[in-house]
């Protein structure tokens, strides 16, 4: 896995010194380090794959807050670190609009050491993400990538399962979602979900479903659930007021995504509802495994061929 670090500093010498130190201290993880000297250059350099942004506060065409705001838009999971001589007491924190940003004083004796340690931890723990990830996240992503999911035949099989789910729960929308490192991808859809595109993981309800030990999660009203209340406007616009999701669990017990039904009204779900959706999710996972077995000689999760 490659890590992309963007280093923003208007002083070329200071920028190169920071980059040189990071290359030395983080040599074992071989990060890709990109540089920018202004807010405008930083905006051009940011991509969805940017892992960490290190920025000076004072820049010729704005401040570090503008860089952090741009990173929030393009790479919401990226960690942002203000690496500056500016005293935090004089930083206009309102301009960060609530963004959580790390701070390392450039003048400190330990500055380079602390910056490298912080970048490393930010990469390893996904610090500054606004959602929790499973303890087994690394293995989970490896399992996800071991399956060939890019197949019309598989999608067709899974579409039949979303149709069944929608019919049983009498809802207009259902989908099978994959939770990748930073995003939720829609693998099979029923109803309006066919028009949905990739969603940032921080906005996905399934991000929390995959944490459930019981492998099923119900949300009666997104407006009333503290995990989703701040994002409920966008969810309701999609027709999601209530939700039931059941996990796609590999033979090794890792969760790669969820089968979900959505209602545009507040709704409760019974134990039988949850049991039924779990059955359908197990069926969907069997289809994925079966497809992987039939498909060439890919070694799938669990060591089967």
């Amino acid at each position: 896995m490659s890590y992309r670090i963007l280093c923003v500093d208007g002083d070329p010498a200071a920028r190169e010194e920071t980059v040189g130190s990071l290359r030395t201290e983080l040599a074992d993880i071989e990060p890709v380090i990109e540089t920018a000297g202004s807010v405008a250059q930083a905006k051009s350099a940011l991509t969805a794959d940017t892992t960490v942004v290190i920025t000076e506060y004072s820049l010729a065409d704005g401040t570090g807050a503008d860089v952090v705001a741009a990173a929030d838009e393009v790479a919401p999971d990226a960690g942002c670190i203000l690496y500056t001589d500016v005293d935090p007491e004089t930083v206009d924190t309102d301009s960060f609009r609530g963004s959580v940003t790390e701070y390392v004083g450039k003048g400190s004796v330990f500055a380079v050491e602390r910056l490298s340690q912080l970048v490393r931890t930010t990469i390893e723990t996904g610090a500054q993400r606004s959602y929790p990830v499973p303890d087994s996240e690394g293995s989970r992503l490896a399992a996800l990538r071991s399956y060939n999911l890019d197949s019309d035949e598989l999608r067709s099989s899974l579409d039949r399962i979303t149709n069944l789910a929608a019919s049983h729960f009498e809802v207009d929308i259902a989908s099978i979602n994959i939770i990748d490192e930073h995003s939720q991808e829609f693998l099979a859809c029923y109803g309006d979900a066919r028009d949905w595109e990739t969603m940032d993981r921080e906005n996905s309800i399934c991000t929390f479903t995959i944490l459930e030990d019981e492998h099923v999660m119900a949300v009666e009203d997104v407006r009333e659930d503290p995990r989703f209340a701040s994002r409920s406007g966008g969810l309701i616009d999609l027709g999601i007021q209530s939700y039931l999701g059941a996990n796609l669990v590999t033979p090794s017990g890792l969760v790669i995504g969820s089968l979900c039904v959505y209602d545009d009204k507040t709704r409760t779900f019974s134990a039988n509802d949850k049991a039924y959706l779990r059955e359908l999710a197990a069926l969907a996972m069997e289809q994925i495994i079966l497809h992987a077995r039939l498909d060439s000689k890919i070694v799938v999760d669990g060591g089967e061929q």
Binding site: T93, G98, V100, E102, L118, R129, P132, A229, S230
Partner: protein
């Protein structure tokens, strides 16, 4: 098995040493001594030259210092740092402790930056860079910021503590939140210490989940001279 550099605790706190980089949640209702227990975990190391850094939302730096001195009368205030987020008595710290003020608990950017700056200076001054941090409390902050933002803030804090080999102690009153909030905030910590009132003459009882070699059953604790 404990290592030489694990964080140890005062007599009366029945916890095995905890590894550097760990963050624990101390969960208990307001009258259970949970917050005083969290403060004690953090000032426990000042005897051996470790720094004790507080993000205080419920007590001004002066009241916080009084509370710490109740359990540690001989506390060396040079080793204490406070990010005072109460919005009260700004600039009124009546001792030589390092205090940085943030006017409101919803300025998470300001709290985070002042915490980081204070952490750096304490890291440089503390014995072998050892600093213990208490955030008291997550419950108070949750009244000012929504859950996901609070999660992001606390997660960032625990990552900084991890990267510096520190110890983090975050206080939470689980009775004032729904299960979704408690479960989400619990994901930040490596372990959870539940605290409740004691039925005998101890100061309280605790039990631990998520950390190895710690008491799983309710165990009495005592806090200094409190």
């Amino acid at each position: 098995m404990s290592q030489e550099d694990d964080y140890t605790f005062a007599e009366g706190i029945p916890l095995a040493p905890i590894a550097p980089g760990t963050t624990v949640l101390v969960a208990g209702p307001p009258f259970s001594q949970a917050q005083q227990f969290a403060r004690s975990m953090v000032v426990s190391g000042t005897d051996s030259g470790e720094g004790a850094l507080f993000i205080s939302t419920t007590m001004t730096s002066n009241r916080l210092l009084e509370a710490c001195k109740k359990v540690y009368p001989a506390l060396d205030t040079d080793q204490i740092g406070v990010v005072d987020c109460t919005g009260q008595e700004v600039g009124q710290a009546d001792s030589d402790i390092a205090v940085k003020y943030v006017s409101t608990q919803n300025d998470l950017t300001g709290i985070g930056m002042r915490f980081s700056a204070l952490y750096e200076s304490m890291y440089a001054a503390a014995s072998e860079g050892r600093v213990r941090t208490a955030l008291i409390s997550l419950s108070s902050m949750s009244m000012y910021v929504e859950l996901r933002t609070l999660f992001q803030f606390a997660h960032t804090l625990s990552a900084r503590i991890d990267s510096a080999g520190g110890l983090g102690v975050f206080a939470l009153d689980p009775d004032s939140h729904d299960a979704q909030t408690v479960n989400t905030l619990s994901q930040i910590a490596d372990g959870r210490i539940e605290v409740r009132e004691s039925e005998d003459d101890a100061d309280g009882e605790l039990r631990v989940a998520g950390l190895t070699n710690q008491p799983r059953e309710w165990t009495s604790f005592r806090l200094g001279d409190s």
